[in-house]
């Protein structure tokens, strides 16, 4: 049973445009949601998080939106840059502190 799902394996956008990465979840017990970025052969790096009691959090070019009724969150990157090309993982945090990760979405930003 996959509690966090990223249904789009890949996404390709033009440099300067908006990238929207989506994530769905089934467990209503997540306290936080986090987004990580991962380059090949490197460990994931933290991007941005959102509390389950919020609906939006913004940090520079990155904004995360949370729709609790739909159990859906999205990461917006504006404007997209070639250096943003990576695999993006969303994760939910349980009250125990355990993180549950999605399968990841590979973003390619074309110059």
């Amino acid at each position: 049973d996959q509690q966090v799902k990223q249904n789009s394996p890949s996404l390709s956008v033009q440099e300067g445009r908006i990238s929207i990465l989506n994530c769905d979840y089934t467990n209503s017990m997540f306290d936080y949601f986090l987004w990580y970025k991962k380059y090949p052969a490197e460990g994931p790096t933290f991007l941005i998080s959102i509390s389950s009691i919020k609906d939006k959090n913004e940090d520079g070019r990155f904004t995360v939106f949370l729709n609790k009724s739909a159990k859906h969150l999205s990461l917006h990157i504006v404007p997209s840059q070639p250096g943003d090309s990576a695999v993006y993982f969303c994760a939910g945090t349980l009250s125990t502190g355990k993180l549950i990760f999605g399968q990841g979405t590979t973003l390619q930003v074309k110059p």
């Binding site: 996959q2 966090v4 394996p9 306290d31 936080y32 986090l34 990580y36 052969a41 490197e42 460990g43 994931p44 790096t45 933290f46 998080s49 509390s51 993982f89 945090t93 349980l94 502190g97 355990k98 993180l99 990760f101 999605g102 399968q103 990841g104």
Partner: protein, 114 residues
Amino acid sequence: EADIYQTPRYLVIGTGKKITLECSQTMGHDKMYWYQQDPGMELHLIHYSYGVNSTEKGDLSSESTVSRIRTEHFPLTLESARPSHTSQYLCASSDSRSPSGELFFGEGSRLTVL
């Protein structure tokens, strides 16, 4: 800036060899984790520790073992490596006081078993 280090970054070994993947963090985090990740797949938790002398198995069954004798050190050992163990192994740590549970990851150890 995260300070968590993994060695080796890359390892190619033959079947049946014993290997230890090292992981150290200098942030004083009480929690440490090992994840296994293959391309296109999610990160699978294989071991975690909530403090010294505390280790637990994760969601994905693994033949590896771990130890946590010191807060900063969380090595993973495979007694007899097999080709099915070929994967990327990611070590992470977190502070239990962090409400979001944010994990800080090392750069990973890419293991190839021939």
